[in-house]
C-alpha cells in the first residue's frame, strides 16, 4: 500500500514503544502513535493521560486528552494532583511523548511563544504538563514534523528541557535530582533521530523516499548522521489498516 509521510511518522513512533510499559500520552499525533503501539508492538502498554487516567482503553480515538472514552473501562481515574504527583513525579512513567513548535539540536522544546515572551509574535498554548513530563518521565520521545521553522538553532523559549546545552545535560539532571534522563528519540516525517554521547540529535534512520538533502533542507543546523544510517521499514499493511480504519478514519492527523 502507498502511504503518506504523516502515516510513516506515526508508525515509526509507535514502533519505538516496543518493550515499554507505562506511557504518558499527549494530544494529537502522540495519541495516534501510542494507541497504534498498544494494538501492535506493545500490547501491555499502560496508557496514561494527564487528565487523570491510568490504564486507558479508549474505544475510539480520543478527540482530546480529556475525552470520555479514556475514562470508560480504564484501570484507574484519579485527580490531576495524584496523576502528576504520584504517577509522574513519583517516577512511574517510562515514556513521555511530547511535541512542540520548536526544537533545538539538544532536544530542548518550545511550546510557549514565538518572539519575545512579553510581546509575542505568536502566542502558543504553553507548557500544560510538558515541562514536568520532560523533567520527570524516565525518558521522552518527541514526534514533530520537520521544517526550518521548527528545527531551529535557538528556540525562542525553553518550555521543556531536553539535553540542555548538550554534554552538561546528563550531569545537571543528575545533580538536581531529576528522575528523567531526557529525550531519547525524535521521530519526524523524514526520519528517526537518537541522541549521541554529546546529547545531540543524530539521524539514525531515513524514511523511505526521504533523502539526506531533504532532511538538511528541513532544519536550521547541519545534523549529525549515523555512520550506520538505515532506511526505516515502510508501514505494513496491518499498521496502515489500523491507522486508517480504527485510529484516524477521517484522516485528521494522517493526510
Amino acid at each position: 500500500m502507498t502511504f503518506s509521510r504523516s502515516e510513516m511518522m506515526i508508525v515509526a513512533a509507535a514502533r519505538e514503544l516496543r518493550g515499554q510499559r507505562v506511557c504518558f500520552v499527549g494530544v494529537g499525533l502522540p495519541n495516534i502513535a501510542v494507541n497504534l503501539a498498544k494494538l501492535t508492538v506493545a500490547p501491555d502498554l499502560e496508557l496514561v493521560y494527564e487528565a487523570g487516567v491510568f490504564g486507558a482503553r479508549p474505544a475510539r480515538l480520543p478527540l482530546s486528552i480529556g475525552d470520555p472514552t479514556i475514562v470508560t473501562g480504564a484501570t484507574a481515574v484519579t485527580s490531576m494532583f495524584e496523576l502528576f504527583g504520584f504517577y509522574l513525579q513519583g517516577g512511574l512513567i517510562d515514556v513521555g511523548f511530547l511535541g512542540a513548535a520548536q526544537i533545538d539540536r539538544f532536544g530542548n522544546l518550545n511550546s510557549t511563544v514565538i518572539g519575545e515572551y512579553a510581546t509575542p509574535k505568536t502566542r502558543l498554548p504553553g507548557s500544560g504538563g510538558a515541562c514536568e513530563i520532560a523533567i520527570n518521565a524516565r525518558q521522552v520521545f518527541v514526534i514533530m514534523r520537520q521544517s526550518k521553522r521548527s528545527f531551529v538553532e535557538r528556540i525562542d523559549f525553553r518550555t521543556s528541557p531536553g539535553n540542555l546545552g548538550g554534554k552538561d545535560g546528563a550531569r545537571v539532571r543528575r545533580e538536581q535530582g531529576w528522575l528523567g534522563t531526557g529525550p531519547s528519540v525524535v521521530v519526524t516525517d523524514l526520519g528517526v533521530y537518537n541522541f549521541d554521547e554529546d546529547g545531540e540529535m543524530r539521524l539514525d534512520s531515513l524514511h523511505p523516499g526521504a533523502t539526506i538533502e531533504a532532511v538538511r533542507d528541513a532544519m536550521a543546523w547541519q545534523p549529525k548522521v549515523s555512520p550506520t544510517l538505515t532506511e526505516t521499514a515502510p508501514p505494513s499493511d496491518d499498521e496502515l489498516r489500523l491507522v486508517r480504519e480504527s485510529l484516524d478514519p477521517e484522516g485528521i492527523y494522517t493526510k
Partner: protein
Amino acid sequence: MHDAIAALVRDGDTVAIEGFTHLICFSAGHEIIRQGRRDLTLARLTPDLIYDQMIGAGVARKLVFSWMGNPGVGSLHAIRRVCEGDAPTLELEEYSHFGMVARYTAGAMNLPFFPIRSYFETDLPRANPLIRTIASPYGDGEVYAVPPLKPDVTIVHAQRADANGNTQVWGLLGCQKEAAFAADRVIVVVEELVSEDVIRADPNRTIIPGLIVDAVVVEPFGAHPSYAQGHYDRDNRFYLEWEAISREPATLDAWLDEWVHGVPDRAAYLEKLGAERRAALRPSASAPSGSVDYGEYR
C-alpha cells in the same frame, strides 16, 4: 443561575470555573457575561472556549493558566488577539498544569506555597517571577515553589448534588476539589438534584461537601459544549466551528449576541440548540459502574 452569579460574583474577583475538558460550566460563564462583570481575574488550567468567550466579551483583565488552546482542535483566537503583538492588553500569569494544581492545593490546605519538581532549566520562572526555588530544609537539594491560589469564587459543574450542596462527580476529576476547597465562595451547578439518601448511599463519590458550598444551581446540559460523563458527549462540532467564529472580532461578537446576550438563560439556549442536537450527544450505550457493598454497622 442568575441569582447565584448576581450574589456571589463581583467585579474584580478572581474566578475559577474549573473542570479539565470535562464538566466545564459554560452556563455560568455565559451568565457572568450577561451580567456584565468587569476586571475579573480568570483562573483555569485550560482556558478552553469558555474563557475565550468571556475574554472576548470583555469581562477579564487577567488570565492565570497553564495551557491555552482549543483542545484537539487549534487556537483560542479571542485570547490571542489580546496577548499577542506589541501592546498586549490581557495580563498573563502562567504556570504548568502541575503548578496550577499545586497552587489550588496550597490554597485549600492553608499553606504558604507548594513544592514541586517542575520548572528546572526552563524559561518559565523568568516569565513568571512567582515561580521560585526553595532549598529543602533537610539538605537534599532545591525544588520549585508555587504560591497558593485562593479564588474569590470557584464554580464547579457536577453530575449530581443534594440540596445542601453535597456534590458527587465521576469521570475525570480534574482539580475541582482543590479549587473548591481553596475558594472563598463556591457555586455548584448540577445535571441532577438528588436526595440526601442518594449521596449517603455512595459517600466515596462525594468530592465537595455542602459545608463549603454557597449555592446549588440545577442546570442540565450546563456544561455544553463540553461534556458530562454518562450524560452527554463533547459537542466536537462546536469546538471545530469555534476556530472560525473566534478568528474575527465581528463573528465573535455576532455569536455572543446570538447565543449569550440573545438568550435569557440556559433553558432558552438549550431550546435554541434543539432536541436533535442534544440527543445526538448522548452516550452510544450505558456503562454502569459495578456497585459495592458498604455494609451496615450498628
